[in-house]
């Protein structure tokens, strides 16, 4: 353990989803172009400072998306990828789906934030399919997002409700993308996926040894 590199705060309680969102928002550089996946990742937008200059992309064809639309601002022609009515900001641009996914796949987004069922030590992501035999497969833009952005951040709880780790040595759920995750933000710790292995950046409550005892993979610090 190297206390210079890993911030362990045993006084801190595990983070709630809004805390994780705030943490991610803090790590998004000024002016970055960012896609926030459907679900919890959209909370990150609430924590970006007004002067962050961060430009949000939504894969259904808009750059510089604004907050969710309220009241009279609701326009059925203007939604995000989750089909929630949103707004546009000055300097927005609309484009069609082939152009939007070209932008994603071409590596032009700086950061994409995604939810996950599992992330492996190699950065494999599983977030689209439970693999249950009766599940109807539905992928949407998950695979495009996973492989396209310069950096892929995952936002998830570290364990399922029944205590099963979601950061694993190898995914058991069907994959969304191979070796595509760069960083994992969880309620208990933040991890970097590196060529050397999984590195703990920061913990919230547990020590690195606590975490290592509950996860089935080696942790670097």
């Amino acid at each position: 353990m190297n206390p210079d590199r890993t911030s362990v705060d045993a006084e801190r309680r595990p983070l709630g989803k809004h805390d994780i969102a705030a943490l991610i928002a803090r790590d998004i550089p000024q002016g970055a172009f960012v896609n926030l996946g459907i679900g919890q990742p959209t909370l990150v937008a609430d924590h970006l400072p007004a002067d962050s200059g961060v430009v949000l992309h939504t894969e259904n064809g808009l750059l510089n998306m604004g907050p969710a639309a309220q009241g009279d601002a609701i326009d059925p022609d203007l939604t995000n990828a989750g089909k929630v009515p949103v707004t546009e900001l000055p300097g927005a641009a609309y484009f069609h789906h082939a152009d939007s996914f070209a932008m994603m796949r071409g590596g032009h987004l700086d950061i994409c934030v995604l939810g996950a069922f599992q992330v492996s030590a190699a950065g494999d992501l599983a977030n689209w399919h439970t693999g249950a035999p009766d599940a109807i497969p539905a992928v949407g833009g998950a695979m495009d997002l996973a492989i396209g952005a310069k950096k892929v951040f995952v936002m998830m709880t570290l364990f399922t409700k029944t205590g099963v780790p979601k950061l694993v040595s190898g995914c058991t759920y069907p994959l969304t993308g191979l070796a595509c995750v760069d960083r994992v933000y969880t309620d208990l710790a933040v991890f970097d996926i590196t060529p050397r292995g999984v590195t703990v950046r920061e913990t919230f409550g547990p020590t690195v040894d606590d975490l290592a005892g509950r996860l089935d993979l080696p942790l670097l610090t």
Partner: protein, 222 residues
């Protein structure tokens, strides 16, 4: 050739053949050509392959077409939604085929059809279930999947405004799949909110040039 301005949805969808592949625009309700889909339900073509981002919601539109047993196969990225019970039921009963395609590959495969590209190597989905059985190749150290064009016999799309030549503009995120589908089908039928005189759309702002559009229906509700 010259676009046909249609007075009624039944005229707009006339002649769609049994067994056709029909590209249907829209992402959720944004850009969904509801009057054209209703026209297709009345028109009666069956044994259809429908290519659309979703597989219908609730009981109307695409879901109604599915409920009537007129669709043999759906090619889409996201069939499963809170109220996609019509599709869910057909699928679980084995009464409909499903091909799930990543959303960007769905768009790009239609673009390829419209752009005369025979096939393309795409990194999306490499190493996943959706690439099983597909040819792959490592290019610059990265595994790519060979994807083939998706062509439509017919495209039904929703746009905002047309001129009398058939140039189209869209509105906000309702643009989505419309412009790509317009390039990828033999017969392109657009439902629009208004038709304006030729010359009233700025040539710099046209999204779908007239060459791609065969028939235009002005919405009855507009």
């Amino acid at each position: 050739m010259t676009v046909r301005l249609c007075a009624h949805a039944d005229e707009a969808v006339a002649g769609i053949q049994d067994g056709s592949t029909v590209l249907v625009g829209g992402f959720g309700m944004a850009g969904m050509p509801v009057e054209l889909i209703d026209g297709l339900i009345r028109q009666g073509a069956k044994d259809l392959t429908v290519v659309s981002n979703n597989a219908g919601n609730g009981d109307s539109g695409l879901a109604a077409l599915l409920a009537k047993g007129r669709v043999r196969k759906v090619i889409c990225s996201f069939p499963r939604q809170a109220d996609s019970y019509v599709f869910d039921g057909l699928y679980r009963a084995g009464d409909i085929e499903l091909e799930v395609v990543p959303q960007g590959s769905l768009a790009e495969r239609m673009r390829a059809a419209g752009a005369g590209i025979g096939a393309f190597f795409c990194p999306t989905g490499a190493g996943t279930l959706l690439a099983e059985g597909k040819e792959t190749r490592v290019i610059d150290g990265r595994t790519h999947v060979l994807e083939y064009p998706i062509r439509g016999d017919v495209a039904l799309i929703g746009a905002h405004r047309a001129d009398r030549m058939g140039n189209l503009v869209y509105r906000k995120t309702a643009r989505n799949f419309g412009p790509v589908m317009a390039t990828a089908a033999t017969t392109v039928i657009a439902q629009v909110r208004e038709v304006v005189d030729t010359g009233m759309i700025d040539p710099e702002s046209v999204v779908t040039p007239s060459i791609y559009v065969d028939r235009v229906l002005q919405e009855a509700s507009a």
